[in-house]
Symmetry: C2
Subunit: 281 residues, 2 copies
């Protein structure tokens, strides 16, 4: 495990596993790591960070302000190629598109995810903040629980949990004890286990790294993401993040997951919403 000494932005396993290699203008190779899988699926937030990193290279601005991903087919660990397209460049914002492809048995490219994003420079924004949103009410970290505190609650691979510092609010842990609350809420302290601080790219992972709110609604099946949009609102301060996820409407076999990410300085650093499909098993 990458738990040894404190990793930094750039030296962390997260950075190595999201690093893309430029093959030609706008085209990037990557080997998707098996380290970010849960059950048999590659985590959607990790994949979004890979695409986000390719776009940060392709566009003149460094930070994803808003990034929308449509998940087409399930990604597998292994080789992939990201093809980017610069849609528009402006003074404060630029917009790009990216697709991640893998290869089928015949070696043909199959599209996994398509993304549309507008990038800017978070460091260039003015300091005004007028927020009525409040940070999630989370117990202190030592009163929260991680996968290491109990038996593995899911079957199959849980590689990603070995790389995350995830401490769940006991109030949203009923599902793990066989008594889901019936409320579509999930809250946790979040970080990378190797101690790497958060940055805009790791926020793309943070919004999709908690157990699905569906577990607390008493649904134990797979909840694949159809679409995920993340707004990064502020460069996060060092220290653990608080992530709060809410589902208010489960209907017709679909649900939304709204995530908020707060940093140690009590700034709302990211908001996201995803539409996911409920697959009962």
């Amino acid at each position: 495990m990458a738990q040894a000494s404190q990793a930094t932005i750039g030296s962390s396993e997260f950075d190595r596993d999201t690093a893309v290699t430029r093959r030609s203008e706008g085209v990037y190779d990557i080997d998707l790591s098996a380290g970010w899988t849960i059950i048999s699926a590659v985590n959607g937030g990790y994949l979004l960070a890979v695409l986000g990193r390719a776009l940060a290279d392709a566009l003149p601005h460094p930070d994803p302000f808003t990034i929308s991903a449509h998940y087409l087919t399930a990604s597998r660990p292994g080789p992939a190629v990201v093809r980017t397209d610069v849609v528009r460049t402006g003074r404060t914002l630029s917009t790009g598109q990216a697709s991640l492809f893998q290869y089928d048995d015949q070696g043909r490219e199959t599209e996994r995810i398509r993304v549309l994003a507008s990038y800017g420079d978070l460091g260039a924004l003015p300091d005004d903040v007028r927020t009525t949103a409040l940070p999630p009410a989370l117990p202190p970290m030592e009163q929260c629980f991680g996968p290491e505190d109990g038996p593995a609650p899911v079957d199959g691979s849980s590689a990603i949990t070995e790389r995350l510092m995830l401490k769940l609010d006991p109030a949203t842990l009923g599902w793990a004890l066989g008594a889901p609350s019936g409320k579509g809420e999930m809250r946790a302290w979040f970080g990378l286990k190797d101690g790497r601080d958060a940055d805009p790219l790791s926020l793309l992972l943070a919004v999709d790294a908690l157990p699905p709110t569906a577990f607390e609604l008493g649904i134990s099946g797979w909840v694949p993401t159809v679409e995920l949009t993340v707004h990064v609102r502020c460069r996060p301060a060092p220290g653990p993040l608080r992530v709060s996820i809410t589902t208010r409407n489960l209907a017709g076999g679909f649900l939304e997951e709204d995530a908020e990410v707060w940093d140690s300085a009590d700034r709302l650093v990211a908001q996201s919403r995803q539409l996911a499909r409920v697959r009962l098993r």
Copy 2:
């Protein structure tokens, strides 16, 4: 004004003004109407409905389940072309991309908006509903106020207000009286003035048709949309809609607008979030 007799889905001015003409496979012409402008801007929800209509023709599924638009340059009334691309077709969902272009002074195509969307069939969804969200607390329509109840609150064109039945909750109307509440909330009864009932396409208009929440935050400048994502969750029942918009975080010159649309049967029919830029004047 199109107020004469009750219009139906298909016969309304909204249908005529969003109708696209197929030029060739996946390519559609449209004349953007001046009837959906506010001040000098073509309404972003109207534009999204135009793109949504083109994608409904290009894809095998009829209804936008989730549609994400990145607004690149300001659209003007007049000729435009929509180019669509089928990304993936599946049994229950298909994904497409679309761009709207207009022509510059030299006749070159300039991209206005790019959209990524996943479509399905709302009519084919099961009936399960587990919603903890509550409809917005709105006074009865006769206690709410429309543009016709007072002097025009904005300078310039207000063509769109002549086509909408918009009755604003007095609790979110402080801005029109010079006394914004300081809360980022806007709520209204919504319909088309010609009496056309709502459908998934007009929901794309409904989420972006209220005055900006920024007005209630005491900001009177333009608030252009950077990105708007809409989830259509249910086919709306006939009758007026209730739209509730909330901004919880204004920071660094950007804000989010979260919209919920409820139908007359108390179903949450659409959710949206946009990232907008605050331009102080």
